[in-house]
């Protein structure tokens, strides 16, 4: 049952991350979607892929997005 809930969570959070206006919230939802996708890979019997997706998708990629967002909004807020 939990795996089907995870599938629904991934589909819903993908749509939420795209519709969201605030880009910081969108990036946090992107990391949440990647971690749920790693759990789905675990339920699909691909544990090595799950480990790689959990590291890259929920730590490295949102970090790169946040650095980019900081560098592109730095002058606008002041």
């Amino acid at each position: 049952m939990f795996d089907y809930i995870l599938l629904f969570v991934v589909a819903l959070s993908a749509i939420m991350a795209i519709v969201q206006e605030n880009l910081y919230k969108s990036i946090v939802i992107l990391g949440f979607e990647s971690f749920s996708l790693a759990a789905i890979y675990h339920f699909l019997l691909a544990t090595d892929v799950a480990a790689t997706q959990a590291i890259l998708g929920s730590a490295l990629i949102p970090g790169l997005f946040i650095v980019t967002l900081y560098k592109t909004t730095k002058g606008r807020d002041e």
Binding site: A14, L30, L37, L45, L56, F65, V67, T68
Partner: protein, 136 residues
């Protein structure tokens, strides 16, 4: 086809459609990059879902198989043909493992190009970037 496999394919379809919608319709460059990430995730989920077998063994971490084991003497070991029937299909796993790393590196290149465009035009909106390019 198994129900969970069907659900995985449907979720991958939602991911790919939402990603392409963001790439085509959204105005912000970062939203387009997020959409490209979703398309890659959906393709990875399709490839992983092909190799799924319900109740199967995990090929990498299973303790039940050794290549030179004789099943009559080691009763908890499986012969190769029994292992191959029980385990899930491991070829897409290796492909997707490479595809995740390549996706992360191409995503970082896309983000770096977004920063370069912002330094040139002082905006991330594609509409305003096109207008500024036509004025030049």
């Amino acid at each position: 086809m198994e129900p969970f496999q069907t659900g995985a394919f449907l979720t991958a379809g939602v991911l790919i459609v939402a990603g392409f919608w963001a790439i085509i319709m959204m105005d912000n460059l970062l939203k387009k990059v997020i959409g490209a990430n979703f398309v890659g995730d959906g393709v990875n989920l399709v490839l992983i879902g092909i190799g799924y077998k319900p109740g199967g063994l995990i090929p990498e971490v299973t303790p039940h198989f050794h290549a030179s084991a004789i099943p009559s003497t080691f009763s908890h070991f499986l012969a190769f043909n029994e292992f191959a029937e029980l385990a899930s299909y491991p070829l897409p796993f290796a492909l997707v493992l490479t595809n995740i790393v390549i996706g992360a590196s191409t995503l970082s290149v896309m983000l770096a190009l977004s920063v370069v465009l912002y330094h040139k035009y002082q905006t991330l909106s594609v509409q305003k970037i096109f207008e500024a390019m036509e004025e030049d």
